[in-house]
């Protein structure tokens, strides 16, 4: 057994730009993710967070570098991680319930069984009465909840969440946070979490990566040594505030630098 659940080694990505020249979008990135950790990634918009997740989940080919899970090389392989993309990507021709059980269906679990498993979750997270609606009939927040539930139902050891709570109202967001922590705790998942909310990142995580602007590399790797389980009130504790200020300063430094660079060049 390796010390780390997942390792990213020198991962980078170059897109072909509109003018035909290569555009460096990400990296090189080095990360060592221990097992059962809750890791947040924060960075300026456009720095390559979604690109990084696409690469980890095997959906986009790396331009360089390698990814190892449990010591095995996995870059380019799918099905290793559970991944909630930034767009909700619900299949428009399926009901919400059928969308949520998609991962189970693909694994070969009988539909009936899968539905029985999914329904309580739908009820719990405010989608009751919408099981048999189609995605177009739902509000933005509801769609995002459905997409998150689909990822959670697809029960993988490593879960990648790209801004899962972006469109949720504060109350639902708080409930989902608690529930995600429970889930992570109960099932011993390793979670990678992209958010724009530093408070959320620190509150949830064991480690926070702060990325530089494009091409995104790791600018700062913060360890969050707050005791667990954490109560929501923790955000007013001095230790929390100190961590948050430190992190925000780093991030804003980076964003400023980026804006200056762009305005200058």
């Amino acid at each position: 057994m390796n010390a780390y659940k997942m390792e990213l080694e020198n991962v980078s990505k170059t897109y072909l730009g509109t003018d035909g020249n290569p555009v460096n979008a990400l990296g090189p990135i080095h990360m060592q993710i221990p097992n059962h950790r809750f890791i947040s990634i924060v960075g300026p918009s456009g720095c390559g967070k979604s690109t990084l997740f696409n690469i980890i989940s095997g959906l986009v080919e790396t331009s360089d570098g390698a990814i190892y899970v449990g010591g095995n090389r996995v870059d380019g392989l799918t099905g290793i991680t559970g991944y909630m993309l930034q767009k909700d990507l619900l299949l428009p021709w399926r009901t919400i319930l059928d969308n949520v059980i998609l991962g189970l269906e693909i694994e070969g679990i009988p539909k009936k069984e899968a539905k029985a498993k999914a329904l309580p979750l739908l009820y719990k997270y405010g989608l009751k009465g919408f099981e048999h609606h189609y995605p177009a009939q739902l509000s933005g927040g509801m769609r995002q909840r459905a997409a998150l539930l689909r990822t959670i139902m697809y029960d993988r050891e490593i879960i990648l969440l790209d801004e899962p709570f972006g469109a949720l109202d504060a109350q639902t967001r708080a409930m989902m946070q608690e529930w995600l922590l429970d889930l992570w705790d109960d099932f011993q998942k390793t979670i990678l979490f992209v958010t724009h909310d530093m408070e959320e990142a620190i509150y949830l995580s064991d480690e926070v990566y702060i990325m530089t602007s494009r091409p995104g590399t790791i600018k700062r790797h913060l360890m969050i040594d707050l005791p667990r389980p954490r109560k929501p009130q923790i955000i007013t504790s001095p230790q929390f505030i100190e961590l948050k200020e430190e992190a925000l300063r780093t991030l804003s430094e980076e964003t400023m630098r980026a804006y200056q660079q762009e305005s200058a060049g």
């Binding site: 959906l59 099905g79 299949l91 021709w93 998609l102 693909i106």
Partner: protein, 288 residues
């Protein structure tokens, strides 16, 4: 703001006045939301049809339209009525109907399967392309001797024509549908560890279905054309044979009478396809 000033009606007093003024509407809302009333549509169609016939008849009688080449509605109606009395109309229509429907079903199914199969290998798809085009380019009518050889002189050759004419277009349409799939949806399903077969079943096929459904309307017309061409090549019965015969003997009114029958048949087929289409759309795509 000039926009506002132009568009809105003045209300006079404040809200408290409580006078309900007629609700103003923007043009586009009326348009995008309104579904034309079926009766109005039918009245419009019928009126247009009658007007066209009247103009034709008047033109023919006044000599503006040469009725030797164009015939004229009254004459056509008379010819048509003879067909009804002798029962030829029903027999011919039924004959053509049968070969059309069989050709349509086979061609649509075949083309759909072929088009979908192209998703599995771009290499295979690219290699097949010119051969499909070649097949499409062959003038079916000119191949009559060989068609008779392969499919016989019975209903087989008519079905084969309907098939040949629909299968290529269905293939191309389906393949276009397959290629228009949202790449992100495909990625998402792969990210759930799906096999290619699962991506195919759960994303590609449902995505291609609207394209396939939209091909149905076009196909039924083409299958009919195919059946007609098949009847030209050789037949005992059928609307196409009648039209062909009328052309040979210069009975223009008989041509039109049979074209009329053909239109009725094709309208009937379109209505049936329309029903099938909305059933499928409801079943697969949950659209109205």
């Amino acid at each position: 703001m000039s926009h506002e000033a132009e568009a809105v009606s003045s209300r006079g007093g404040g809200i408290s006045a409580g006078i309900k003024t007629p609700r103003p509407k923007s043009n586009w809302l009326k348009h995008e939301m309104a579904v034309p009333k079926p009766w109005a549509v039918n009245v419009g169609r019928f009126a247009l049809f009658i007007i066209m016939l009247l103009l034709w008849e008047i033109g023919a009688r006044s000599g503006l339209i040469n009725s030797f080449f164009w015939s004229q509605p009254v004459e056509i109606a008379r010819t048509w009525w003879i067909g009804v009395q002798t029962g030829a109309v029903w027999q011919d229509t039924l004959y053509t109907f049968r070969s059309t429907v069989i050709g349509f079903v086979l061609g649509t199914l075949g083309g759909t399967l072929l088009g979908l199969s192209f998703w599995w290998s771009k290499y295979y798809a690219r290699i097949s392309e010119p051969f499909i085009i070649m097949f499409e380019a062959m003038p079916k009518l000119a191949l009559a001797p060989i068609i008779v050889l392969v499919f016989g002189i019975g209903i087989g050759s008519k079905i084969a024509m309907g098939f040949a004419i629909t299968v290529v277009i269905t293939t191309l349409t389906t393949y276009n549908g397959v290629r228009s799939v949202d790449k992100d949806l495909v990625r998402m399903v792969y990210s759930l560890g799906a096999s290619r077969m699962q991506v195919f079943r759960k994303v590609i096929v449902p995505t291609a279905i609207p394209a396939m459904i939209s091909a149905l309307r076009i196909n039924i017309g083409l299958a009919l054309t195919g059946a007609i061409v098949g009847e030209y090549i050789g037949s005992e019965r059928g609307l196409g044979r009648m039209i062909f015969y009328a052309g040979q003997t210069y009975e223009i009114s008989l041509i039109w009478a049979n074209i009329f029958n053909l239109s009725i048949l094709s309208m009937l087929l379109y209505v049936l396809i329309g029903k099938l289409e909305s059933l499928l759309l409801k079943g697969f795509m949950h659209q109205k």
